[in-house]
């Protein structure tokens, strides 16, 4: 069995992947749901049937040129820690991490294609790109899917399109999404109206790991919800238009905050730095929320010499499974909080305090 840890790119490297607008758009993703014509959906199929489906699909996926030298494994061969690491890297869904016999994963070396077999559908293939690259991701996945359809007999109906286990994915089976870092809109208290108007356009806004408006680390996922009655390009274009507007609003919000409430901004960022650089015990949730402010500080030029990739790397390595992986012994939550704080302090040793331009109207202090 291949070692997942050796296969995945080191966090420092994956944090250094760049793409257009990656100051705000952390990553782009397009997912397609497909099923085989002659089999029950994974949630209803018996174990033997699921294994048969996996044995049909896995070699077909592995044989694609895009998947040369890929990581391919049945889910029951992966340990709980490895699965959690894949979730933290957004390479598989939480739902897929909970699967056992009859489910599988094929992941390419560049981590740009990830194919989940027997998740909710027989096939959930995704193309991942850093920054805002929805069109590129869609084109790549479209080609990928076109090659795969020559090897597999998809369940397709002329009227209903690609047939999926859940009617919410019927038709194109596409989910286009982007992960956005929006600290400006959150601090400026503009995020709720934005979420509401995005919802009105039939798009969903979720937090980093799920529902609720108070997203961890000010990270939000925006995605389409409707899959039937509209073609893939239209869905991609609509999302791109909305994202362009959100990016504009976020940039404006940052600008306005700096002009109108610089003290508030500096206070948040300074305190975040203070805690991260000096804490001896810190939870994963607090770390993420403070790292978000540190990231904002880097964007605003408050930490000359520090790179955004350092923050993004910390974002990844401070999460529970990644942290656990670095220590051979099993850690309790309390022990993890200590280790996490040690690591963050160490990594921020060379990052100096935020440099704040003093306001000309201010008096001597």
């Amino acid at each position: 069995m291949r070692d997942l840890h050796a296969f995945l790119s080191p966090p420092a490297e994956s944090a250094r992947r760049h793409g257009p607008h990656d100051r705000i758009v952390m990553s782009s993703r397009v997912r397609l749901a497909r099923n085989l014509r002659d089999a029950a959906f994974p949630g209803w199929a018996k174990k033997t049937e699921r294994v048969r489906i996996l044995d049909t699909i896995r070699p077909a996926v592995e044989s694609l040129p895009e998947m040369k030298d890929s990581f391919s494994e049945a889910m029951d061969n992966l340990g709980a820690l490895d699965r959690q690491i894949l979730v933290e890297r957004h390479l598989i869904s939480r739902e897929h991490a909970a699967k056992s016999a009859g489910s599988g994963l094929v992941l390419n070396h560049e981590e740009t294609f990830s194919v989940m077999i027997n998740e909710e559908d027989h096939l959930r293939m995704q193309a991942l790109r850093p920054g805002l690259q929805l069109k590129q991701a869609w084109t790549a996945l479209d080609n990928f899917d076109s090659s795969l359809e020559k090897k597999l007999d998809y369940a397709f109906d002329a009227d209903l399109g690609y047939l999926t286990a859940c009617p919410t994915n019927l038709g194109t089976g596409i989910r286009v999404s982007a992960m956005l870092h929006l600290p400006g809109l959150v601090l400026g208290e503009q995020i709720n109206p934005i979420i509401q108007s995005v919802n009105k356009l039939g798009l969903a806004v979720r937090g980093l790991y799920g529902e609720g408006t108070e997203a961890l680390g000010n990270v939000f996922q925006v995605s389409n919800q409707m899959t039937l009655g509209e073609n893939e390009s239209m869905i991609v274009e609509r999302l791109e238009k909305v994202l362009a507007q959100i990016i504009e609003h976020e940039e404006n919000a940052r600008q306005i905050l700096l002009e109108k409430k610089p003290k508030t901004v500096y206070n948040h960022i300074g305190r975040a730095y203070g805690i991260l650089a000096n804490a001896h015990s810190i939870s994963s949730k607090e770390t993420m929320n403070l790292l978000s402010l540190l990231r904002l500080g880097v964007d605003l030029g408050l930490f000359p010499g520090a790179e955004r990739s350092l923050v993004d790397e910390l974002f990844l390595v401070t999460q529970p499974a990644h942290l656990q992986k670095q220590f051979s012994d099993k850690l309790s939550a309390e022990e993890r909080d200590l280790m996490r704080a040690d690591m963050v302090r160490e990594r921020l040793k060379n990052v100096s305090r935020p440099v704040v331009k003093s306001r000309p109207t201010n008096t001597s202090n």
């Binding site: 014509r37 286990a165 009617p167 919410t168 009655g229």
Partner: protein
Amino acid sequence: MQCSICKEKPATVHLTQIVGEKMQKLDLCEDCAKAKGVNDPAGFALADLMLGLGAAQEIEQAAGGAELRCGRCGFTQADFKKSGRLGCPECYKTFCEGLGGLLKTMHKGTRHVGKAPESQRASSENADRLKALQKKLEKAVEAEKFEEAAQLRDEIRQMAERTTTPKTFTR
């Protein structure tokens, strides 16, 4: 307050979500909340849950109270009510009547527009072209243009052969 799913136990989990301009509320008991995955925020959307409930009701109505069962995989409307998912691709035919209304509320349209597997695409394109050629052939025969008619006949014959290897057609 009663649980909106089992309608038996008292509701202790209360959910509110804004979908479009409507505010949706749902009250669940502990057990149903767990069964629906409400505790796992990633896998849970109120809209899905509500639509799932609505769908089962619509299917029930369409079936006139009788229990529908998929002939291919044995999935029943009760199963759909429970999971909000279908059993196999064939289920879309079995439960098609009840699904129509559901799809309308869920999606932009009820007919697929967008990508189709090449094999499907080719066969429908072929059918259109074949029809056009046959019309031309009829006209040519009527006008006694036999040379043209012979050519068209050959073309039609070739096409019929090609339908078995649809790869000759691309977008």
